[in-house]
Subunit: 351 residues, 2 copies
């Protein structure tokens, strides 16, 4: 089974975006709230969006299952207040749950968290613990997206290793659910979103983890750093050296029991480096589809985000490592996936 | 001739740091100024610092010449006001000039700029144009360090492609001097300096350049993105795809006449990727010494920043490409190097 651990509902019906725009305008106008119940999207709309989008690509590429979350850029946690963020998260997550309900053997959910920047941060982290529990217990979700910069491009929050995040980590450990560390949009004119802020977020958080004892406090907490780990594997020597300089243990010992990279790197040379440098048990297949880059690579004739085809072409990956990267690791890092897949099978048998 | 385009005077005599601390304290206390003339460092101190530091490593590693600049992290442009930044830049640059005067066949200068964040930005860019001219015409410097984030970790400035920077670019073009794009320290607790902010700065600025027409306005302006280009070569497919998505020309056409990467990547696999992906004419040898990582790599028995030894071990680099990377490119990107080397030779002959 080939599991893509990083897909977003970037093709959601336009009603979702319209509701969000109304929500933001209402808050900015008078602090008013737009009720989540005012969003109406029919099953047929969802079905069409998925069948013409992510499902079509899954079938074309031969991948089986996607861990599916709301559009990451659109999380945009800086808008409004804690309530704005909670409503928007619930609307987004409930829509993901409907996708997973309509295509139970193809999509399993990961939720957006109702984070907020500034003074609302601590409160928003407690609310995030509640929302992740709701999504896991009520919707069968298996993961979440954790934004290290809810200011959306100005990095106003403390590092993810700060104790303000501990209530969330306690809940993640209790539920046995990992977090994918994923920034949202950038509203900073100096830092573009998908090709700068995303990668910078990955790099910054890896370094936060290098400098902390977070995993001593939470030995079973697991984090996925997406986009191939930002700049990290390319600069692996820099991080290894910095750990020695600082008298810290090797990366393998300090981080690699808890930190995983996905394969959202859109060329063969990059994926060769990733799979050569990072132990296979720490690499999870992902395509980020439909996402950051949508065009076809004229050099290969395939879409840039068709990481499956690129990985298939890398002969140096052995069979066992390939099985780990394509699915076995995801089943270990997202242990609730097993239960979700069992449920689906039982329902299919019963039908 | 092997030219290291990226070295910093991180081993400067302690008097420099003490003067800087006094300068900051005086400004923060009462807005007072500490005169640059109050800094006293003897030639013998400089000689010792260099002979036991950078020169020793040059000789050990078989490199000939370093383009030498003040410690990048210590530029710390957020402190004080425009005058603070100007005094500190002049003190730092004049010290580099003394190093170059004492070791004229080993070090050629690149200057720090008197940048300031916030409202002082535009004024500080005009002051930077004046300072770079002073350093080039009076000290024989051949380049400068341009900080894209003078707020030191919070990215408050517009992108480097903004017109506020044009007075500096006009001067750089007039002088035929390139800029190395290099952030300073990070005072943001979420973003460590050498292993996060540095790489993020590289990545962010490359993407700024991808989105702009800066090089249409300044066809001969040249920028070096250090630290192997941050995350960029590892994610080369992402940038290629993004350019196609946005209907922009290929990277080679839009950027690679003007943008260069250095080789400050501290492991073989990373440098293999860099030299394989980026055309050899866009790669400049550098070690960042003595710098970000100081320890010895237990896997190689050499210091992590001994990029010369790593590059020597990469057999796939052909002779012509190797000559380009080790020195020919630097002579082209820093055309004033030729004049500086001629001067040195003439002086040696005259003596």
């Amino acid at each position: 089974m080939i599991i893509d651990c990083h897909g977003h509902f970037t093709t959601a019906p336009k009603e979702l975006g319209i509701w969000r725009e109304r929500q933001i305008a209402a808050f900015e106008g008078s602090g008013a709230r737009v009720s989540p119940s005012e969003l109406e999207i029919g099953d047929e709309q969802i079905r069409t969006a998925i069948e013409q989008g992510q499902l079509k690509l899954q079938i074309e590429r031969g991948t089986d299952l996607t861990i599916f979350s709301p559009g990451a850029g659109k999380m945009a946690h800086h808008y409004g207040d804690a309530r704005t963020s909670l409503d928007w998260s619930q609307v987004s997550n409930d829509l993901i749950a409907r996708v997973c309900g309509l295509f139970p053997d193809r999509f399993v959910g990961a939720c957006q968290l109702p984070q907020s920047p500034g003074e609302a941060l601590a409160e928003s982290i407690r609310a995030s613990a509640i929302e992740v529990e709701r999504c896991v217990t009520e919707h069968g979700f298996v993961g979440c997206l954790l934004n290290p910069d809810p200011s959306d491009g100005f990095w106003q929050a403390p590092p993810l290793t700060d104790r303000v995040y501990y209530p969330l980590y306690e809940k993640l450990v209790e539920l046995d659910v990992p977090a994918m560390v994923h920034v949202a949009m950038s509203r900073n004119a100096a830092i573009q979103g998908t090709c700068a802020h995303y990668l910078n977020g990955d790099t910054s958080v890896f370094m936060q983890l290098c400098q902390s004892e977070l995993f001593r406090d939470f030995p079973t907490l697991r984090m996925i750093i997406p986009h191939g780990g930002g700049a990290v594997p390319y600069h692996w020597g820099r991080y290894r050296g910095m750990m020695i300089d600082q008298g810290r243990p090797p990366l393998e010992e300090a981080l690699l029991h808890n930190v995983f990279f996905d394969t959202c790197v859109y060329h063969k040379r990059g994926l060769e480096l990733l799979t050569d440098i990072v132990p296979a048990r720490n690499v999870l297949f992902a395509s980020e589809m439909i996402g950051a880059v949508r065009s076809v690579d004229p050099e290969t004739g395939r879409r840039f985000d068709d990481t499956k085809a690129i990985l298939d072409s890398i002969e140096s990956i052995g069979d066992q490592d390939r099985a780990a990267i394509y699915g076995d690791n995801a089943l270990r890092v997202f242990p609730r996936l097993n239960a979700a897949l069992q449920n689906t099978k039982q329902q299919e048998v019963a039908q």
